[in-house]
Symmetry: C2
Subunit: 237 residues, 2 copies
């Protein structure tokens, strides 16, 4: 990115909006972390906090939408500047969705707390969530620093999250076959795993935006599609 | 909406983009229909068509993104006009995601075709998909006609889709408990049900955009959140 031009009114406005994106990112990272933690420790109070906290995330997205519209109307940006502004909308939308998934996980904490634990799946889910939290942290750094390389790293990191998801999917199938009492909890746990996997997709999507911003092109088929469970027929097909 | 002002260059450009939205909507409606049909009739060729067709939907979204950016840069719209343009981006993004879900359903057709059918769930899923297809058709009509009332109807219709999903979720749990051989197919069927439910959410999201465009406000908590399965502990908790 060229930083040659003197800070204009447009730059200042954009920076203010980007600061909100970072704030939103911080809230979303915490939501991921706390949702997974509340699940593992069966902490319903923390889960409730995550659920309640989603309103602040949604509020920030709305604010960013409004401020972005105002910026476009006021400064009439074109070319690269316009691309930057439009990317803000996409990124905040991705963040909002990740927040939604965290809220959804927290919602399931209550019902899962009433059931017996299924092996150590909650710990496995927390590790998966930790991975996504890292992806999100890195991709927001990549965004602020306009670092396409770091963004590409995040896109590749998504493959690992997908692999973790695939492994869990098979594990849940096995637990369900072993004992019918595992079926209901495993349906919820599986949902949670899928939600975390989708969070990874949204972090990847932000990464693609960053690559596009910096290079002018979307990463060519860079996005690894490693969730193969839609074709999983084993075990016991 | 005021239609008092004489058709400007802006209006013509916007109309062209809206025509693309409608084209995209038509493709997405067909994708929903064919994905559900291929599942019920175990028609792998049709499923493959849906999977391949998603590229055209993605391509249209990209085109709409570009044309919208060009429109903003060229015409520097403000106020209501800008709101209209930005809503186009959101709506095409919602359509793209619905298309993705349809593709994901089609992907599962192959693996499900190899398993024995679980009762008449494929027919139930097709009915659910039919409902969402209708929602989408109506919400796009509401968008073109700037009809907030019709958009609100769609938002309410989502409650029915959620109810259908809740019923299926419980049904799948029961099938899985009855016979472990149902577990793997039911995991896939459940995913499909959830994907259709999410399609409904995206149609609802378009409905909210329409209400916002027409009235200037988002529907106040209008969106019924009737997927209660995150709290479902029965049967056999």
């Amino acid at each position: 990115m060229t930083d040659q031009h003197i800070a204009s009114a447009f730059d200042r406005d954009l920076e203010a909006i980007q600061a909100r994106i970072m704030k939103m990112g911080g809230l979303v990272e915490a939501a991921i972390r706390n949702a997974a933690l509340s699940l593992e420790t069966r902490d319903e109070e923390l889960a409730e906090q995550v659920r309640a906290g989603d309103k602040a995330i949604d509020g920030l997205e709305e604010l960013i939408n409004e401020e972005t519209a105002r910026l476009i109307a006021l400064r009439a940006p074109t070319a690269v500047d316009l691309r930057l502004v439009l990317s803000v909308l996409k990124i905040s939308n991705n963040l909002e969705r990740i927040g939604d998934y965290a809220k959804n996980i927290a919602k399931r904490t209550g019902v899962l707390s009433q059931m017996s634990a299924v092996s150590d799946s909650a710990a496995a889910l927390r590790r998966m969530a930790r991975e996504v939290e890292l992806m999100l942290k890195n991709v927001l750094d990549a965004y602020i620093q306009r670092d396409a390389e770091l963004a590409n790293d995040v896109i590749l990191q998504d493959r690992e999250v997908d692999q973790m998801y695939n492994a869990l999917f098979r594990e849940f199938l096995t637990f369900m076959m072993e004992d019918p009492r595992n079926i209901t909890p495993c349906m919820h746990l599986h949902f949670i795993a899928k939600n975390i996997e989708r969070m990874g997709d949204h972090a990847t999507s932000i990464g693609e935006q960053v690559v596009y911003l910096v290079t002018g092109d979307y990463p060519e088929e860079a996005r690894p599609k490693a969730d193969t469970t839609s074709e999983t027929a084993i075990p016991g097909k």
